[in-house]
Structure formats: structure tokens, C-alpha cells
Point group: C2
Chain length 243, copies 2
Amino acid sequence: MKAEKSLYRYRIEPHEVDFTLRATIPALGSVVLNTAGTDAHGKGFGVDALNAGNHSWVLSRIAFEFDRRPKQYDEYTVATWISDYGRVLSTRNFTLSDSSGSEFGRAVSQWAMIDLASRTAVDLSWVGDAHADAIVDAEPPAEKPRKIRAVTPSERCEHRVVYSDIDFNRHVNTMRYIEMMLDMLPLERLTCEAPVRMDIHFMKECRYGQTLAVGAEFRDDEALFEIVNDEGAAAVRAAIGWK
Amino acid sequence: MKAEKSLYRYRIEPHEVDFTLRATIPALGSVVLNTAGTDAHGKGFGVDALNAGNHSWVLSRIAFEFDRRPKQYDEYTVATWISDYGRVLSTRNFTLSDSSGSEFGRAVSQWAMIDLASRTAVDLSWVGDAHADAIVDAEPPAEKPRKIRAVTPSERCEHRVVYSDIDFNRHVNTMRYIEMMLDMLPLERLTCEAPVRMDIHFMKECRYGQTLAVGAEFRDDEALFEIVNDEGAAAVRAAIGWK
């Protein structure tokens, strides 16, 4: 049997909008990531099932594109599917469509599976075999997440990792990284209606109690970010660009 | 026709749990507040309807009680009802019950209606008349939120208000206040399984760009908090206690 894209229906709730009454980028990003979790759980290869075997999914890179931000109480559908399992990374894709079926956003994410004891990546070949029937024969809807090389910050701020930043793995949750970076942008950028693309690259896990340095480099229609941990190592890099 | 409590069903999702795999207090608090918004919207007196008349609901005080924190993927039901409209405050109540019907949490919230132009409280008598059929003849499930008087902080931290802290009114959103305060507690407290009650009293709205001072006073089985704005005025006070 050929696998199909899975569809999840949502509505933009009041706590997800900013003062433009449109969904924020972190709110849309959060729905995308939670949809990944829900879909994997429903199909039996979620974090909970993997943890039993002492494995977990770790997000390595993700790219989001939002052509517009839907309004409060707008209904929309997220379609998600896995397009391939490589040796190290699996690719999960998303499209977001409004109630008339018009696509307004998409995301491509790449996940590694780690062994929780050694915290090293596991060869995914066996997963590709075991879950071959979960692969959908449809290309990613956007360019795969780009690798972000050097960032030369002109502004920096500090962030001490607290309880509300961390997830069930005791690491900073993905949405908090995104918020830390976006919070360095001027409000006009965050609330503008131009189509936006964000590429994020996760390199090291940040932990409770660490003090992170969040740096930003501003260009014309782009901003680059780098989050450095208290040992001076780059933990997250990201780029956001507007059309 | 007599009004009935409204019921909303939810499931604890992975992004709502901490490393104990139980829902965090902010996650449960967030569901309670979002349920208030959904219920008011559905009944035609939500913030969106009020804004059209240049009014809005503002949360004045809330008390939460959680006897235990449900586990990831547990299903539960939130019941909500308005028990009275005073001249200044209306009371909205909540109970949280697991799938076997056993109540594990409750909340009592008091809301003022403000005129968005003058930002002053509106006399609610007319609302009580217009929406008398929305009042449910059932007492609040817990003691109403307590007023918190003087707090003498032994620890303080600063918080600059950023984009991801603010809501559609450009004010710090309720859950962020709660997170700022709880983040000052040791992890063992936050993740313990003792029944907890939290009373929060909102006095002033905090805005984008302000720098807040969050102070905490620790007692045996209780902690008090005070958030002071950059003009030195107390904006939020709270108390949290464990049994």
C-alpha cells in the first residue's frame, strides 16, 4: 500500500497572534513541530516509542517558509510526510494550506536518531527498511535547510537557560531557540507581511543552567544568528530572509 | 433555559511536559486560560467581539490548584462556567478531570472589562443583564484568588520584555509572567508531585521594551513573587504553596 500525506486541521487561536492579529512565526513553527510529534506518535515511531529502546529523534535542521501569516480564528490544514531516510538523516516535510486549499507555508526538516546512552547518531538504514511503508513518494515542497556558516554578530544578548526553556530531554526546546533569535529583530520586521524563509541548524544541545550568548548580524533583507554556549561553542545558527 | 458548564477535551502533548513526563504548571495554566478565550468567543462575548465595541477583558486575579500533573498523552476534560458578574469583576471557574472523571485541578479567575480608549474598568452590571443566561448556578470550585500584600524578595532577576513575551494587546502575556516567576524556583520544587496552589494578582500591564525586576521570597512550603516595572511600581504579585 502506498503511504499518503497525513492531514491535521487547526485553527489560529488568540494566544498565537501578535498585535497585527496574525499568527506569529514562532506560533506557526510550533504547530509544525508539534504536528511532527503527533504524526510520529500516531504511526508508532514517536519519541515515546523510541525512548523505550533508548533512542530519540533529534532535530538537526529545519527550514520554514511562510508567504503570509493567517489571521486569528482562521482554519488551516498541515499536511506532513516523510520523503526519505538517509543513513543519518530522515526528511519530514510539511505544507500549510488555508480553508480554500491555498498553500501559504511549507517546511522541510531533517532528523537524526540518537542513542540516548552514548548520545551519538544511529544508522537509520534499518529504520528505512522497517518503516519503508511510511515513506511518501513526494518531493520536499521547498529547498532543504541550508547550512549556515560564519556569522559575524553586531549585536549580542545573554540568555540564562531556565525551567520554562527546557523540554522533556532537559535541553532547550526548539521554539525557545527561535524566539531568542527573533526577539533580537525590530518589531517592524517581525510584524511585516512580506514572505519569509528561516533556516535553522542545530549543532549542540543547550542545557538547564547554561548561559547562552545570542548574536545577530543584520543585512538588507536578511539576518543571521548564532547561539554560543558557555564553553564558546556554536550551538545553533540561523538565517531569516524576507522577499 | 438554565446554562450548563461547558466541556472541552484535551490531551497532554509532548511539548507540554517536562523531564518527569508530566504536564508543567505553565502548560496546564495555559490550557485553562485558552479555554476561557475559546468559551467566551464561542458564546459571543470574546475579546474579538468586545474589541469591536472598543472593550476588552482583562484578567485581574486567578488561582490555580493542581493536585497532580497528568502524564504525556493523558486525555482530560476542562469544564468552565461563569458563576457571577459583579459590578467590576466577573468570575469564571474551571475544573480539570481525567478520563475516568476524577478531578485533579481547578481554577477561579476574575476578569474586569476595560474601555480600550480610557483603559479604565467598565461597570459590568449591563453585561450581567445582557448575558444573564450565561451564568451557571454552581459555586466556584476553590477559594477565590487571594490578594497578595507585601513581598520581601531575597532574590531578584531582570527581564527585558521582548516580542515573544507580548500578546495581541502589546502587553506581557499572562503565561510569561507565570513562567518568569516559576523559573526562579529550584527544579526539585517545579517537578515535585505535591499538590500545588498558585494565586496571581495582576495590577499593572507591562509593555514591550520595559525592563522588569522579578523578585522572590522563599518560605518553607511557599514562595512569594513580585514583578516590578521600570517605574518601580508593582505590576504582578503571586504566591505558590505546596501541600
